[in-house]
Amino acid sequence: MNHTAPTYSADFATAAASRLSRAGFLCGVVGLAVAIGLGLAEGDHMRHFWLSYLIAFAFVLTLGVGGLFFVLIQHITGAKWSVTVRRQAEFAIGTIPFLAFLALPLLVPLFSHEGVEEFGGLLWSWVHPHGDHAALITSKVPFLNVNFFVGRFVGYFLIWSLMARYFKNASIEQDKTGEHELTVRMRTRSALCLIVLALTYSFAAFDLLMSTDPAWFSTIFGVYLFGASFLAIHCFLVLSTLYYQRQGHLKKMVTIEHYHDLGKLMLAFTIFWAYIAFSQYMLYWYGNIPEETAWYLIRITSPWTNWSWIEPIGHFFIPFLGILSRHIKRKPPLLGFWAFYILVVHYIDLYWLVAPNLYPDTVPFNGVEVFALIGVVGLFLWKYGQQAKQHSLLAHRDPLISDCLAFQNY
């Protein structure tokens, strides 16, 4: 059959994106200011604040890099269903250079001499090995030393920023030219990029989060964080799309079918996350080797026991049963509730991965964490909104867009 493809128009959400951007900036400044104030009041060399900042930073990093995984996977699979929501993920990856800027404050706890004698480093105790595991940690110094650590992060962010820049710009260029060749080129390049991204993200997970307990190791840790990130970006896309639709955009371009697909992937990666998390737990449980189980021991003993129960129940069983039914996936406000819920437990998961390493005897969670999260997520939304201000919300000249809109779930 020979017919002319229907044409779609660009969807500029300048006003809505500006509102989001302004609100984000306000939250960012106020949230971080309050968190710093509360942190200073605790008089612990700001250790608690830096922990909160690290987790909040990791949270937005999972959205930014999760977005990069999302975009690459759509390209490599030639996905049609996601064309109308992909641009929002492209805005999310556009924030990656800014995330590098958000990582800069973490140099303070890395280089600070405060608390070094007491903790061996405010966040990363390998900065100054001490205590029972000093000899073990010293043997890891060729990898875990401040200079190489900073160098690696420069490398990670450089690679991610370049990838993000290419995939975002190529897609936006297609808005102007409508060139099919761009889609083919992005698909070809996504293969190598995915391999590089998987490796760099895995190592970034080891460095940023796992090394807060330098005596412990888990080779699956990077996959764990990937699963969590990929889950988080789908939740974020649901909420972002709901926001723009409330503001009168993307009305006919994102349908129930797209929500349904996002919901299916949310369900799939809720299961994938649980699969990876349990694989790690069960192997350590079976092996029962002290150097491995120590990590879980602090988490299953008081006062972290209750937090640990949130993981299987709150992060798997409840959302699993919550979004299992297709009727829920096809009701956008309900799906939005579950997306928000999963992002909350995703934060709790990240917190659970790190905080017990630094505070084995207390649960330090209080307003500092809440305001630091509001602050950092606010700044992320500020940049996210700025991206959306300049470009169309819709990759309207993507050659696959007709297929995307024709698709139906049965």
Binding site: F278, M282, Y286, L324, S325, R326, A406, Y410
Partner: protein, 389 residues
């Protein structure tokens, strides 16, 4: 518009249904809407590719398959857990290196696999059943216009068993301006399985019954022949149990002792003097006391080692009624010699050195434990036997 097919029913055939052929998606969608509005229930559309909106136009309800899958998934999950609980923690308790009898982490992989297995098989076979499979043949295949339903035509078929089926049906279809309308006659014997196929199925089923019949026969008869080894594993390798005789070695024993001059690396106590620590004997006489410092930790260790190594046969309370014994009684009650009751005076009066020797070298059908339990731990068990049991 051409109309083919006979309208009259003959004695040999009955009407199976009526077909209308359309050459466009819009045509069949419109027709489906109309047929639905008229209230027909037994009818279907056959298209060469999935047509968007056809389900809605036909008023097809959402399938109930997900509920079946959900229920069977839960059934598989709980069945998997129940199976493991019954086999590992109830019927025959596994006690492995001090781990709890019943622990959920170990059971989750099986429960997970069973959930998926049950859910997937239910989805697959329920889909068959709900779609009326297996079905080898449909009378629709005989219709001339139906051949293009997999190519470039859209066919709507109304079954003659529908309550509303009659002359009205043809008029309804004609009003929808199809390419063709075709009546399908079904032979009276339609749908029956041919006799030859029935015979073959019968033979196949009978043959399938043979293996279970043979198993049932073997289960309830006695034979002096060795059992049939379908999977030999390592059942028939040449091995000897503890304390058995053997023609192979000059001393007639199957169990081997360490060659002379061997000493354990676990401790440097055996450099000449403390032979009793390793053998339980000094100058040919059993030691009358434990050659170690008896501390609370030492006693605790004895209790723990007893729980790990001894309790499987001798039972936690030393009565000799351990799990292995109970199971062995069920399986071979006549030939089985039970473990000793360690609480009796005969045991209590033995010198510590003699008990140590029994653990180290084995006694009657109890094998040697010297390779598994370090000497210091064996003494800790002796202490536990003497003082706490």
């Amino acid at each position: 518009m051409a109309i083919t097919g006979r309208l009259t029913m003959t004695n040999q055939t009955s009407i199976h249904g009526i077909l209308a052929e359309f050459d466009s998606v819009d045509g069949i969608l419109h027709a489906a809407e109309k047929v639905k509005q008229e209230g027909y229930r037994k009818w279907d559309c056959h298209t060469p590719f999935p047509v968007h909106g056809l389900d809605g136009a036909m008023g097809i309800r959402q399938t109930r398959l997900p509920w079946l899958v959900l229920v069977m998934g839960f059934a598989g999950c709980s069945g998997g857990i129940l199976l493991q609980w019954w086999t590992n923690a109830h019927d025959y308790v596994f006690r492995i290196s001090g781990k709890p009898d019943w622990s959920l982490p170990a059971n989750i992989p099986v429960a997970f696999e069973m959930t998926i297995l049950f859910a997937a098989l239910t989805a697959f076979f329920s889909m068959w059943i709900l779609n009326g499979f297996p079905r080898w043949y449909s009378p629709l295949f005989r219709a001339k216009c139906f051949t293009r339903a997999t190519d470039d035509r859209f066919v709507l078929a109304i079954d003659a068993r529908d309550d509303l089926f009659g002359e009205e049906t043809r008029k309804l279809l004609e009003s929808l301006s199809p390419n063709t309308i075709e009546m399908i006659e079904a032979p009276i014997e339609d749908g029956k399985i041919p006799l030859r196929l029935k015979g073959m199925l019968g033979i196949a089923l009978t043959l399938l019954l043979l293996p279970p019949a043979m198993i049932a026969n073997a289960r309830f008869t006695k034979s002096t022949q060795p059992r049939v080894h379908i999977v030999p594993n390592m059942d028939t390798q040449v091995t000897h149990r503890g304390q058995e005789a053997s023609d192979f070695f000059a001393d007639g024993q199957a169990m081997r002792l360490p060659i002379s001059g061997t000493y354990a690396q676990e401790d440097d106590r055996l450099i000449g003097e403390q032979v009793g620590f390793w053998t339980g004997k000094e100058n040919g006489a059993y030691l009358s006391s434990i050659p170690m410092d008896v501390t609370p930790e030492f006693e605790d260790r004895g209790r723990a080692r007893f729980g790990i190594y001894c309790s499987a046969c001798h039972a936690v309370n030393g009565s000799g009624q351990g799990t292995v014994h109970l199971r062995a009684q069920e399986l071979l009650s006549k030939t089985w010699v039970g473990p000793t009751d360690l609480r009796t005076d005969a045991i209590k009066q033995q010198a510590p050195g003699q008990l140590f020797e029994s653990i180290s070298n084995g006694i009657r059908n109890m094998p040697s434990y010297s390779s598994q339990i370090p000497a210091a731990d064996r003494w800790a068990i002796v202490q536990y036997l003497k003082e706490s049991l």
